[in-house]
Amino acid sequence: MDILVCIKQVPDTSKVEVDPVTGVLKRDGVDSKMNPYDLYALETALRIKEQQGGLVKVITMGPPQAKEVIKEAYMMGADEGTLITDRKFAGADVLATSYTISQGVRKMGGFDLILCGKQTTDGDTAQVGPEMGEYLGIPHITNVLKIIDIKEKSMIVEMDMPDTIEVAEIQFPCLITVEKDIFQPRLPSYKRKLTAKDKEIRILTINDLDDKDEMKYGLNGSPTQVERIFPPSVNKDREIWTGTGDKLSLQMASKLRELKFI
């Protein structure tokens, strides 16, 4: 069984700061890492492979340095990796991103199962998976909590719904996005680290894709536009209290009493 996992390189978000004067993000020396939610997708793929055989391939779209996440995936046990990168992909929104990745997927060959993380920590839309499912013309299930059974032509999964947990059977080929905690991701292995260094990473640019129409990629292929960015609004109706702990706790207690919370 061939499984594809979509992984993304994201900034190590805990370090992102905003310049209080200009409102511009400061990302000096911010490290990048694999989107933490994608680790769960990759782990799921590796577990299925251990049980069923086959290959685990990974794909990522991003700038040239996104190669690093593929190496990370190799260290966990992925068999093949592809990076789709091109300057023409600049400014891609969810629709253009999903289209680009699905074009890359078509180049990589047929898959029984495509796995995505639940969401990314930078884009945070949880939309790329379902949009790829549509572009590839395969069914999808999101928020998978558990894999109950893998059969010849289908799999049975448990999914998280607003008020219910549902068990469903889905035919291959299909795409699923997995919840955090479906499996505990393994640590990269040191033995693999050595071989991962030299392992080939396939690079695809727009010229390698079936659809080379530049209007479908990057900003041109993105229906949404960022009109402006601005700092969040300030609550005008506010008070600031300073003083000793004794004074402040008293002030707080009386306000809570006045508001009838105590």
Partner: protein, 398 residues
Amino acid sequence: MGKLVCNQEKVNESNIDELLKVCPFGAIEYTDGKVQVNAGCKMCKICVNKGPAGVMEFFETQTQKVDKNLWKGIAVYVDHVEGNIHPVTMELIGKAKELASVVDFPVYCVFIGHNIKDKAEELLHYGVDEVFVYDYKELKDFRIETYTAAMEDFINKVKPSSILVGATTTGRSLAPRVATRFKTGLTADCTILEMKENTDLVQIRPAFGGNIMAQIICPNTRPQMATVRYKIMNAPKRQSYSNGTITVCKLEAKKLKSQIEVLTVTKKKVEENISDAEVIIAVGRAIKSEKDMVMVQDLADLLHAQIAGTRPLVESGLIPAKKQIGLSGRTVKPKLIIALGISGAVQFVAGMNHSDRIFAINKDENASIFQTAHYGIVGDIYEIVPQLINKIKCAGAV
């Protein structure tokens, strides 16, 4: 649509560093004396607006424009399980009515399921003009192909200008699929929605993983689509009368086929849900260990509050994931929330700034939580909270 162009002749030793640094995504590269923009670019145009003057420019390119006059009305997807309508639906109806009044549009609902016709009646009491119902036994459970097919049919038939979808697990699965079928834009987890006179939907959400809001539009395609979380918008009051109509729609048999079969549906255990809490004590990274949680629990007990927190506290295991407030957690709108040692990142604030009364204790007087809190208390939680607990207890004894 458009592209970024670098005026290479304006790049020099003195401004190149500034240019490279201004990009929050590290998407500007300088190689062999040439500036290039790589695939990391999010087209936020910060380099144009805040970078060295005149170096980066943005050029619009002509694109095919849709005829916006052909797309009318604002539609709300009715989120439900077996006919039990999720309350986010009413909140979106409320917002849709506000948006619709700007451009004099009708408000529609699209309701997909089985044996739901009588439930559709209820929606009319919230001021919906027309409910489009797809009622088939194959639509009993949410399955992606059949629900997308129904949405597709609805959009082709009604041509709504905008569609609002609740950001529940179902909504977040369905909306992207539908948006892709129509090659249109979808903005996730909007916190503010506004309507322009030209019917463009202004979609605002925290973005780029920083303390910043992005205003997003979808000017060249229709329908425009947005998801919104529960408890962000306000539901209108239920009226005793109703004026709208219910239209039952047909779907061809082949569109009711699916590769998915739902085997069992189990109701989740009803658990304490912070979205429904009236009083919340929210804790942030000032809390270092399990033993610090004792005083938090004491305070929570006294105020009959639920305890919730920021993402770092979930990551460190001090509070369960379901108790995370914020963009990637839950949205809350309690009568009272007390934030203890929380810096006030936009992603956190987005999940709680509609609360009635916000108290925040933080020892850093510049913490951004003080921009949101009604009562900002500059001080150390380890000093104030124990004293507050004592004072409340004493008052109770009197």
